[in-house]
Amino acid sequence: MSQKVEKLIDKRGLRLDGRKPDELRPIKIEVGVLSNADGSAYIEQGKNKILAAVYGPRELHPKHLALPDRMVLRCRYHMAPFSVQERKSPAPSRREIELSKVIREAVEPAVFVEYYPRTAVDIFVEVLQADGSTRCTSITAASLALADAGIPMRDLVAACSAGKVEDMIVLDLMDVEDKVGSADVPLAYMPNLGVITLLQMDGILTIEEFEKTVNLAIEGCKKIYAMQKEALKAKYVSVKEVEE
């Protein structure tokens, strides 16, 4: 049942889904989609469908884990059993545990953690459907859910991958490009501060290619950042409309 891989880039330089090398997948963002969570966001990025929710600041159990001078930020990245080709067991995999850590560390630089000492803020990310670069889409969503929950933040965090596919540096890898391509660089960025909060890489890149890839991913983050702000605005506009 393995996927047969055609050429990933055609003669016109277009990718399997018709995108240009530096083109993002179609993105749809909605903020405040869950009534129980303190903040939430839903993103579709190509076939990625990801839901993030934030609960907190709230009490921490057991209490001795609370920190006297800051909140404890926690994150769980989790994939629905039906989100991937072969059914995934619901128990957290090693991959999910690593991604939970790097996603938390990608959004934490944006949060004023010292505002709510002795509390916990929980980020829950559920991947409903996965099609490559889910950690980036998750960070984009988590950052919006934090903002929606009113957690004080320095900036939004936008995330996007870039990579190398058939000798071309391309933006926003989808699943087949990630698997068959020669390098994948997921990156998260705070555009206002101009700093990188997530950076991973696997594959093989020369230092020059690496720099080019990082810079392309940053450009992608900037575009996503604009969409994040739109989505936040849309929510508050619609809330205002409802209130009026």
Binding site: L34, A37, S40, K47, R58, A80, F82, S83, R87, P90
Partner: protein
Amino acid sequence: MSAATTVVRVKQKQIAQLIAKGKRLDGRGLNDYREIKIEQGIIERAEGSARVLLGKTEVMVGVKIETGEPFPDTPNEGVLTVNAELVPLASPTFEPGPPDENSIELARVVDRGIRESKAIDLEKLCITPGRKVFVIFVDIYVLNHDGNLIDASALAALAALLNTKMFNYEVENGEIKLKPGYTPLPVRRHPVAITFAKINDKLVVDPWLEEEQVMDARITITTDNDGNICAVQKGGSGYFTSKQIFEAAQIAKEKAAEIRKKLGW
């Protein structure tokens, strides 16, 4: 929960007084169901999927099909596996971790409705008797908890099964050989679960979260297309009279017929 005890009591009184007058906090009558919205086929990676909104309660179900071994006592039948996750983004009271008693009960009640009504023709899912059959994984994913998870999950599970398609195949020397095209999963019955909460000795249908927080007990009655009962589950630390249960059964049958009609099942 303990700190909230007083709040709960006040709300309980308020809800009970309304119910005594035949009214509910959200404006419904005692036997009114919330609005049901169903979207199917939203997860392309899954063989079948559906998202159900029951008021603000939101449940997603994905169906995956794999091959596996049959149970020894049903060598000619495919295997149905229902699993439920109360993921922590759905409610401040849900915690990460292995399934607890609530998610296990939820999955097993939905499972019994499908299984006992013989909704799926499991014999059509046998590949090689005693050796290889299709395994149908029904994964219930609760995304927002605003009460009555059982009914919402049962609806979502059935909607996802009705949306499920299997690739065509031939069996050659015990191995599956794919053929072009798809066939729908053989679903032939439409079990619908109807849940009641008992509050101050009155029954209300389709309780939402505020009602569940103050109810004494609940009862779920699942009926099939012929109006027969195929699954019952009492929950909560209260009790019912047999009269209440027989009345609930009658209403459940009618409500299920209404829903089936509305959904074209």
